[in-house]
């Protein structure tokens, strides 16, 4: 069964916390991964790979640069589940 946007956000926040130590409550839809959360490209790739496994989706390398905000990633993952 596909997860909702809120469920994906919660799961993604866990991955961000695990990788960076950023508090999960900081991982909000409008936040930019680089500008607001200060996540570097290597951490971003680690989060992406972990998200692929956690949510059972594929996030192509070319797509990662388009995932600027948390909402971009959540929306991509929700769409990818369908």
């Amino acid at each position: 069964m596909a997860l909702t946007h809120d469920e994906v956000l919660a799961g993604l926040a866990e991955l961000v916390t695990d990788e960076t130590g950023i508090d999960a409550s900081e991982v909000q839809m409008e936040k930019s991964f680089t500008d607001d959360l200060d996540i570097d490209s290597i951490s971003m790739m680690t989060i992406v790979v972990n998200a692929e496994e956690k949510f059972g989706v594929t996030i192509p390398d070319d797509e990662v640069k388009n995932l600027k905000t948390v909402a971009d990633a959540v929306n991509f993952i929700v769409a990818g589940q369908e």
Binding site: D18, E19, T20, G21, I42, T46, E52
Partner: protein, 411 residues
């Protein structure tokens, strides 16, 4: 002109304790850090040696998870030991361009490398984490310490097996003498209690097989010693010019007064049985210290508890000290800590510094009957070192024919 170089901070994490003071207390109390391993891989891969001296405080108990997962365990130990030393030194206020790092490891990120190999085979290349290479590289310790402490003078790495972190301290001494920095974080760390290294050292007949009595397995100088015990952990020193330390009113543990680094060119794993290379390393350290062998009041020996290595070290030291070697209080602390490989020299440097401070040679446990071929003055209880200015050396020798010795004077 020769500068005076001082030790202003120490840190250590090993099987004897998670801090330098805990290490020292437990070492003086004659404790053994060696225990039977609980890992399933011992049985799964039929590793013939079932014990080691694992660090008693696990890095995950100290470091936040997100910090730990970006570092190989060897670098986790490096960061823990260096943070302790830095705080102990009073977090010196030094320009980043005048702070250097001389770090060491013998093996580097063996856990990261082999975990990634498992991941690649089981899950494919996509699952191999992007930090794999920067975690496994042998300079990960130096690089991460540079980052953490904002050290920009330099961040150098020594890799010379079991001599590594004595060599890194000798290098730090020279770098401070050469004016490359005013303050240096020096030391080494290792986390290699891994089935591959255990299997390899066991195949080489280098490890003790005393599975029924692990706590007494490391017994340097004893007639029935049968090999070394794998240890792990890290240790760090904060070294600085006396001028810099005095200007900030820092406490001083001891002086670093010289280092000697030589090579045997004899055999890739065996020491030169005549000990010429090791003796030259001792002589070089004493020459740099402007000291004669007669001044040496204490030796922390390499003494790994292998049948061949211990008498070779005795022969080497006899070349330098003559018959007086039998009277100098020697400590073989791997009896308690196991062998930290690339971290061992720094840990033993910490012990040597504390021996000078407290004027006592720490005990060498597990002595059953002294081997007449290794008649070092070892004692199962602390040996007093006497009054006045004291000079001590710490020896490390490594696969590859590396010999490293560092000399300290009491403060």
């Amino acid at each position: 002109m020769t500068k005076r170089i001082v030790v202003t901070g120490i840190g250590a994490t090993s099987a004897l304790g998670g801090t330098a003071p805990e290490n020292w207390t437990n070492l003086l109390a004659g404790q053994s850090g060696t225990r039977t391993l609980a890992h399933e891989w011992i049985e799964k891969y039929q590793i013939p040696v079932h014990f080691a001296a694992e660090a008693i405080v696990r890095p995950e108990e100290v470091l936040p998870r997100h910090e730990a997962k970006r570092l190989d365990p060897s670098t986790q130990f490096a960061l823990i030991a260096a943070r302790e030393a830095w705080e102990d030194a009073g977090a010196p206020d030094v320009a980043p361009e005048r702070l250097g790092v001389d770090w060491a490891t013998g093996i580097g990120g063996v856990w990261t490398l082999l975990d990634a190999w498992d991941t690649l085979r089981e899950k494919g290349p996509r699952r191999v984490m992007p930090l794999t290479v920067p975690m496994l590289m042998p300079n990960a310790g130096a690089g991460n310490l540079s980052l953490h402490f904002n050290a920009k003078a330099y961040a150098r790495t020594v890799v010379s097996a079991c001599a590594s972190s004595t060599e890194s301290i000798a290098n730090a001494y020279e770098h401070l003498q050469d004016g490359l920095a005013d303050v240096v974080i020096a030391g080494g760390a290792e986390s290699a209690i891994h089935p591959i290294t255990m299997a390899s050292f066991a195949s080489a007949q280098a490890l003790s097989r005393r599975n029924d009595d692990p706590a007494t397995a490391s017994r340097p100088g004893a007639i029935d010693r049968d090999g070394f015990v794998m240890g792990e952990g890290g240790a760090a020193l904060v070294l600085e010019t006396e001028e810099h330390a005095a200007a900030r009113g820092a406490k001083i543990y001891a002086y670093v007064v010289g280092g000697g680094v030589t090579a045997d060119s004899y055999h890739i794993t065996g020491n030169d049985p005549e000990g010429a290379g090791a003796a030259r390393a001792v002589e070089a350290a004493l020459a740099q210290a402007g000291a004669s062998p007669d001044e040496v009041a204490h030796i922390n020996a390499h003494a790994t508890s292998t049948p061949v290595g211990d008498p070779n070290e005795y022969e080497a030291l006899k070349r330098v000290f003559g018959d007086r070697i039998d009277e100098i209080p020697v400590s073989a602390t791997k009896a308690s800590t196991g062998h930290l490989l690339g971290g061992t020299g720094a840990l033993e440097a910490v012990y040597t510094i504390l021996a000078l401070r407290d004027r006592v040679a720490p005990p060498t446990i597990n002595m059953t009957e002294p081997d007449p071929a290794v008649p070092f003055k070892l004692s199962t209880s602390p040996q007093p070192l006497g009054d006045g200015e004291l000079l001590a050396i710490s020896n490390s020798f490594g696969f590859g024919g590396h010999n490293a010795v560092v000399a300290f004077r009491s403060a």
